[in-house]
Amino acid sequence: MNAKRKRTEREPAPVPIALPKGRLLPTLLRYMESCGFRFDFEDRKLVAQDGEGVFNAFLVKNSDLPTYVNHGIAALGICGSDVIYESGHRFFTLLTFSFGRTTMCLAGKRELGDAADRRRMSVATKFTRFTQDHFHMRGIPVQIIKLDGSVELAPVLGLAPYIVDLVETGNTLKANDLTVIEKLKEIEVHLIANPSYYKLHYERIDWIVERLREKS
């Protein structure tokens, strides 16, 4: 168990890092451990320090993570490019990890044709900013219906013919008789930094990046 280490006066303060709760977390924690940073989030606690005292990690909801980094509450954060895009904030992108890759896709019922043929689209999605920007850049008017979960239900129940969502295996789509119509963007997991924190502590952050890069 990694009880909180006592820091000596000469040691720099642990770097606050926000980690996303959810499906990415187990892989992420295994990866961090392989780089020498082991965290134990005991008894539903949301805060933990690694054994070396390099990080002070806290678990936050995926979509809230950019807000913590933007305000400098977390110096660093690990999350997908989809979440960063939706937040509208700009961060320093210090590293791209090899795990957690997925694809943002346009999906719908099998009988629907190519999106490019559409003159107007109705799309249900969690990713409203991405969807709006993507179709507007292609000159396709889009009506967006915001949903927070189980987006695959929208075409099944007749809320919208299309959805924009992350697709990993495609099994959920298949189970709901839906199919990928178009792959819109590859989504990667990044290490992001609050710009101001990075500028003031760039040597320490660069050292951390090198430790994490070894395996990425």
Binding site: H71, T93, S196, K199, L200
Partner: protein, 365 residues
């Protein structure tokens, strides 16, 4: 009634009001800054609260346009509320100055209005104080503005680091790249995305992609940059003009060290200017505990020419409301002790208060 009160209490995002002790401190800090700027020979200027949007549209980056407040006047013209004093000042100076007036040194402290997202609660970008040195090119002027920013930070007692880079260096390194790629590259450098930078440069300049990206990501002291600059001789096709810009930055850093200000500066080649109008040096200041830069500036030799008056200029602005809670020895800017005078009549109390005021104290009737 409660509903009505709730409606009154709402304020639009991007505006702010503050009162009493906080407002007192704000004004005191401004008074100290005014004295500092005046002691360097700068004169005050005021800019309009709004102006025609079309005048500035091409000079503003996408983000600046996105956060600006616009409104339509009675004639149907689209107006821009002041969101960046330098921009408004450039037009005013362009209209008011003659060649024989140059160089002109001006300072300002004024409100700006920018849209602020609900979640951006700690941005506090509502007030700019700054200086502009108009009509003076070159090293002397750049050093003067950098030194004055360092003195401003010293006056406020902030533990800040100024990161000094150059738009001119970026421009000369990548002048052969198509405009669209250069814009994407600038965006990637601004967020220190080395991987994307490399892939953009590799498309056009594969032989020097590795070196130029390493260069643009450089942060550190003079020695490290000097070594990196020497390396440029072994990089085929590295532009001579870029080498000149590197030497210029090293020269500025050398003088800043000579005058004892070196510790407050870092050479940071990813600083290529947050505003689209910068043409020379570009810099930002960062303070521990703040989520974004508290000051920024640079050289803009072509901005005034947009208003019919070409004059090389350099300046900086400080987001004052961001740093006010962080000033060292805040008691310097706090309201002094107030003495409430006593007396049986108003005349007696006024005389007692005047006596206190003559002695330099605050007398309240």
């Amino acid at each position: 009634m409660a509903t009505k009160r709730r409606t009154f209490l709402q304020i639009p995002q991007g505006t702010e009001s503050f009162y009493l002790e906080e407002a007192f401190r704000h004004r005191r800090i401004i008074a100290h800054l005014d004295s500092l700027f005046e002691s360097w020979g700068y004169l005050p200027v005021y800019t309009p609260v709004f102006d025609f949007f079309d005048t500035y549209r091409t000079l503003m980056g996408d983000e600046a346009v996105e956060t600006a407040y616009r409104l339509i006047d009675r004639e149907g013209d689209l107006l821009l509320l002041r969101s960046d004093i330098t921009l408004f000042l450039a037009k005013q100076m362009g209209l008011a100055l003659k060649k024989s007036d140059l160089p002109v040194r001006v300072y300002y402290s004024d409100v700006i209005l920018r849209h602020q997202n609900r979640e951006d609660i700690s941005r506090n970008e509502f007030f700019q104080s700054g200086v502009e040195l108009i009509g003076k090119p070159g090293e002397e002027a750049d050093l003067e503005v950098l030194a004055l920013l360092a003195r401003t930070i010293e006056l406020l007692g902030l533990r800040a680091q100024i990161h000094l880079g150059s738009q001119a260096l970026f421009g000369s390194c990548f002048s052969d790249l198509p405009e669209g790629t250069r814009r994407k590259l600038a965006s990637a450098i601004a967020v220190r995305d080395a991987g994307s930078c490399r892939s953009f440069v590799e498309m056009w300049e594969p032989a020097r992609a590795e070196y130029t990206v390493r260069l643009m990501m450089y942060i550190g002291g003079r020695d490290g940059l000097r070594t990196l600059a020497q390396e440029s001789r072994r990089v085929g096709g590295f532009p001579e003009r870029a080498r000149t810009e590197l030497t210029y930055l090293l020269r500025l850093a050398e003088v800043l060290t000579e005058i004892g200000m070196g510790d407050g500066f870092r050479l940071d080649l990813s600083e290529i200017g947050a505003q689209t109008y910068y043409t020379g040096i570009a810099f930002r200041a960062f303070v521990e505990g703040q989520d974004s830069a508290v000051a920024s500036g640079g050289r803009y030799d072509e901005l005034l020419a947009n208003f019919g008056f070409a004059a090389p200029s350099v300046g900086f602005s400080l987001l004052l409301r961001k740093v006010e809670p962080m000033v060292d020895r805040p008691e310097r800017f706090a309201q002094p002790e107030i003495v409430t005078v006593e007396g049986t009549t108003f005349t007696e109390r006024l005389k007692a208060a005047d006596a206190l005021r003559k002695a330099g104290r605050i007398g309240r009737i």
